[in-house]
């Protein structure tokens, strides 16, 4: 058994990642505000590259790293291999992200960007080694483990290809066009890393939080093989032939894989014993609708791309917004306030429970901040996406402002939880 008590080194590791991710989210929201006009153009441009890497690395990956250090022992039922590796990983990862995003923003594809990519890759390698050695300790295999290991492998490959792309800016050693590789890099990250990892972790946690009767994992196995088959087929076909008609089949394969997973979630939801679904879980379930919405955009991207229509680029940007700012962000906004209260609760109350009346982790949350964050995020999605589709800069600006409110309320809430003061009552006084 493992836990994050007051003296456990995991507490500082997890909290550091949550705080840094919250800060990156705020910076990302600020960057959105200064990029509302750039988002109408092609996605291969400095500001969008900076935005995407802030979202993918500073926000999404940073919080996943922190959450995984907390959740790996729960999901894999074994202790984390090292509590030193996360600090080493972070020491490379943070300066790497700052330098990379800055180099993209001002577009300086020289030495600084190259150093940044090596730093990020090193941080990822330390994380990967920790996950591999942790999994190696485990005796019983499970589909959750397969998802996690595979996702971490894809992450390493994504970072490796990203590093090669950075060096290719200066040395031009890759045989094909930079944009062709960018497509592969993006999908290794989105499907291989984020989707695989999120399925692996949520497939274990969602039934736990809902107290679901559904225990079968066959749908997850189907999902695993379909999604990986789709990704490998996409990488091969896109590398060899580019985007062609057969890519529709690849998308269908991937969509089937995602559908198996969404059906698994539906079964868990339907067979849940706990009927009340709290706001963080509502956000979590809502995030999967955004994933489905993102998937629905894919055939349009293909269609317009094959027609050589300019809308292909706009649709790709919309897909990116739905995936990074919709699905991944909604999931993080929800799951942070399912997992962080536990960490804080353990620090304050683990040694007191049973002796005195303690609050439960959900009592540590600030309902008002949770609500503000939910409404602001919803407004961001509606106004920003509508502004994007209608070509309205004013709406996009309003969306970016809502995102800043979301990020501020998120960061304040994280800090509010971390500053929690122990509150107890004696049983005799009740």
């Amino acid at each position: 058994m493992t836990s994050i008590s007051h003296h456990n080194p995991l507490y500082r590791i997890v909290v550091a990642h949550y705080l840094l991710a919250g800060l990156c989210f705020l910076i990302l929201a600020g960057m959105f505000l200064f990029s509302v006009e750039s988002l109408s153009g092609h996605y291969f441009q400095p500001k969008i590259l900076a935005l995407t890497h802030t979202a993918a690395l500073g926000w999404g990956t940073m919080i996943i790293f922190g959450a995984l250090y907390q959740l790996l022992p729960v999901i894999l039922e074994t202790n984390l291999y090292s509590t030193i590796f996360p600090w080493i990983s972070l020491a490379f990862f943070v300066p790497g992200i700052i330098l990379l995003v800055y180099s993209f923003w001002i577009f300086d594809p020289g030495l600084y960007m190259q150093i940044a990519s090596i730093l990020v890759l090193t941080g990822v390698i330390f994380f990967t080694l920790n996950v591999f050695f942790t999994v190696k300790r485990k005796k019983r295999e499970s589909i959750f483990q397969e998802f996690i290991i595979t996702s971490v492998l894809w992450l390493t490959l994504t970072a490796l290809l990203g590093t090669l792309l950075v060096f290719n800016f200066q040395f031009s050693f890759l045989q094909k066009d930079h944009l062709d590789f960018l497509r592969l890099h993006a999908h290794m990250g989105i499907v291989g890393w984020f989707l695989m990892l999120i399925i692996g972790v949520s497939a274990k946690l969602v039934p736990m939080f809902l107290v679901s009767k559904y225990q079968k994992v066959q749908l997850l196995s189907f999902s695993y093989y379909f999604i990986n088959a789709a990704l490998v087929s996409f990488l091969l076909s896109a590398y060899l032939q580019g985007i062609v008609f057969i890519t529709y089949v690849v998308v269908l394969l991937g969509a089937t894989g995602v559908s198996f997973y969404l059906f698994y979630l539906f079964k868990c939801m339907k067979s849940r014993i706990r009927k009340e679904v709290d706001l963080p879980m509502v956000k979590t379930l809502f995030s999967f609708l955004l994933l489905a919405a993102g998937m629905l955009v894919l055939p349009f991207i293909l269609y317009y791309h094959l027609e050589n229509h300019r809308l292909a680029v706009n649709m790709s940007t919309l897909y990116g917004i739905l995936i990074f700012m919709g699905w991944i962000s909604a999931l993080i906004l929800g799951q942070t306030f399912k997992t962080l209260p536990f960490i804080v609760w353990l620090k304050h109350y683990e040694h007191l429970a049973g002796n005195v009346k303690t609050p439960v982790p959900a009592d540590l949350l600030n309902g008002r901040l949770l609500y503000i964050q939910f409404v602001a995020f919803f407004l961001f999605l509606v106004t920003f996406i509508a502004g994007f589709l209608l070509g309205s800069i004013v709406m996009r600006f309003m969306g970016a402002c809502s995102l800043i409110v979301t990020a501020l309320s998120y960061l304040f809430h994280v800090i509010y939880l971390l500053l929690h003061k122990t509150k107890i009552r004696n049983y005799d006084d009740i």
Partner: protein, 100 residues
């Protein structure tokens, strides 16, 4: 306090996530009293191995028993057989979780 008060005492130990007590959750498998050594022996399980709240629930059980029965010692043993499932939740517990 008498021995018959044990279940109600243990009902003050709450699973922090589910906000449901460990008795109705079906986590307590066996309860024995050794009058010679004046010791309670509790066999209990958790809803999942490596449950992040596991240590907290076990120590809360021990603390609760020693608070309620100060003249007795308590030993809590964690067991995994049979593996806990939702079927172990009492009717009362199900009502609390369902909300009706």
């Amino acid at each position: 306090m008498t021995i018959s008060d044990i279940p109600s005492a243990l009902k003050t130990v709450i699973d922090p996530e589910l906000n449901l007590n460990i008795v109705d959750l079906g986590l307590v498998y066996a309860l024995k009293l050794n009058e010679t050594t004046r010791q309670f022996l509790i066999e209990m399980s958790l809803s999942s191995k490596f449950c992040p709240m596991g240590e907290s629930i076990l120590s809360a059980t021990k603390n609760c028993m020693e608070r309620t029965f100060p003249d007795y010692m308590t030993e809590v043993t964690l067991v995994w057989e049979p593996e806990w499932s939702y079927k172990f939740i009492s009717e009362e517990g199900l009502k609390t979780l369902r909300g009706y």
